[in-house]
Amino acid sequence: MKQGMFTIAENTPLTQSVYRMRLAGDTTAITSPGQFVNIKLDGYYLRRPISVCDCVSGELTLLYKVVGHGTEVMSRMTAGQQLDLLTGLGNGYDLSKSGARPLLLGGGVGVPPRYMLAKELIAQGKQVTVILGFNKKDEVFYEEEFRALGAEVRVATADGSYGTKGFVTDAMQDVAYTHFYTCGPEPMLKAVYKATTTSGQFSFEERMGCGFGACMGCSCKTITGNKRICKEGPVLVKEDILWQN
């Protein structure tokens, strides 16, 4: 983990509520896809944890959805403004388990961390299938960006206005895969848990205090003991998950 000041290079809307923010700064603490950063915003006490969409040396890309006051403030920020970030938080995905044909499933704001993951898996020569789930057509983002990486991309929308009608699990039935990586709302994660036949990795969300393991605000129970979503997570392996309800 590192604390550092980042300068906004770009902050543009991709859909009505999802924005892309590119930031310049010291990214050396970010070591694997699936990690997150924690952003300090003026006037707000706690930081905002946001997953990393992409990271190349010195540049960080975040895709975030405006859901509350903090992300609303972020959406109004402009290029040149500075942000205080904690970077390199969380465990991230284990790429060594992917096998030859990894399947990446992302729902809504669970889509962004799939980008850096897909990029790195493709760089390793893996044949990557990405299934993106959204509520409706005008909420779809990053379909072309994933395709440009060389991934096979499928889109599912809950209302059927684009791609396969239904959820990501409805678009995966004929896909042959060796391992899967997923992130999204909890009902989707549970559906993926049931629908998948191999081992896989799930990224979880929880309200956090610090984001770096100090406060125990985001603890969960797992098969192998208590874990902090921010520290031993956010990625848990399928075999470790204990659904609470």
């Binding site: 006490y45 610090c210 100090a214 406060c215």
Partner: protein, 303 residues
């Protein structure tokens, strides 16, 4: 040359800065970021007789200038703290540490403190009779002078190290509780624990926190803490450790003028993991600004 040293219950500290229990784990997360030996000491994660998972999540709610937590004393239990956490702590922290202890009965407190008393890493006990978000325990001992005194006596009987009692602000008369602890043999008082608070999500119309309510902390509670530290320090002869919303070196000075011998920093660590380091670095300049040469000399120096 600014003199930061203070003496807390017979133990000399390089400076009065103590990360508060529950915001600093057992130290080693922060040791990855900076050398935590620059601290006066730190109060480790509240430890109980049995392992505890704590409350269901969400456990955290943001507030204006603060936060509410209802972690619920998650900890691995005293046996594992001694066998697993203290060795890791010892590897990165070489000063006497403050052992924060909670319980659900007088016997619990005595059991846990007696076990920890044998650990040479521990300099002081901080007995938490005030956790506001654990049902059926903790809190009840901190809300009556008799119960707080009973815990104090039981812990004193089984320990050889200084015992501070950590008090709750969620009471009618905190001074009477502090005095009862002093009379029962406490070596010091620390205050304030968090203030009971609650937030409601307007979309779902449900409490933000699964436990419904929790402990409010952060800079918003600082004036309340200063007032309570002042009242307690005026009423007891034993040292007082002040905490509640402390964020800056100037806050530390204010808390010491109110009567604190040492000062704990809590929620600020969660927002800025370098908060305590920055405060320690900022203290000499802040002291110079207010023409102070020794922190020891300003304790209770309010005019």
């Amino acid at each position: 040359m600014a003199e930061l040293k203070v003496n807390l219950c017979g133990i000399e500290m390089d400076n009065p800065i103590i990360p508060a229990s529950g915001t600093f784990g057992y130290g080693y997360e922060f040791a990855e970021l900076y050398d935590i030996n620059i601290l006066g000491t730190f109060s480790f994660k509240g430890t109980t007789k049995e392992p505890r998972f704590g409350n269901p999540t969400p456990r955290i709610a943001e507030c204006t200038a603060g936060m509410i937590n209802a972690v619920g004393l998650q900890n691995p239990g005293v046996e594992k703290v001694i066998s697993e956490e203290l060795p890791k702590l010892k590897a990165c922290f070489h000063k006497p540490v403050m052992a924060n202890v909670s319980g659900f009965s007088v016997e619990d407190y005595a059991y846990t403190c007696e076990k920890l008393n044998a650990c040479p890493e521990i300099g002081w006990f901080e007995v938490n009779v005030s956790c506001p978000n654990v049902h059926g325990g903790g809190m009840s001992f901190g809300t009556s002078p008799e119960a707080a005194a009973e815990v104090t006596r039981a812990v004193k009987k089984v320990t050889t190290k200084p015992v501070l009692i950590k008090l709750s602000p969620n009471v009618t008369d905190i001074v009477s509780i502090a005095k009862a602890c002093e009379e029962a043999g406490a070596d010091g008082i620390s205050l304030i624990n968090t203030m009971l608070g609650m937030r409601i999500d307007l979309r779902t119309r449900r409490p933000v926190i699964a436990n419904k309510m929790g402990g409010f902390s952060g800079s918003a509670i600082f004036p309340v803490a200063v007032r309570m530290v002042y009242h307690v320090a005026q009423a007891v002869k034993i040292p007082v450790v002040g905490m509640g919303g402390v964020t800056t070196a100037e806050d530390v000075i204010e808390m010491m003028l109110a009567g604190a011998t040492a000062v704990q920093v809590g929620a600020a660590n969660l927002v800025d993991p370098f908060a305590c380091k920055k405060i320690i670095e900022d203290l000499p300049a802040a002291m110079e600004k207010y023409r102070m040469t020794s922190l020891r000399e300003i304790i209770g120096g309010i005019q």
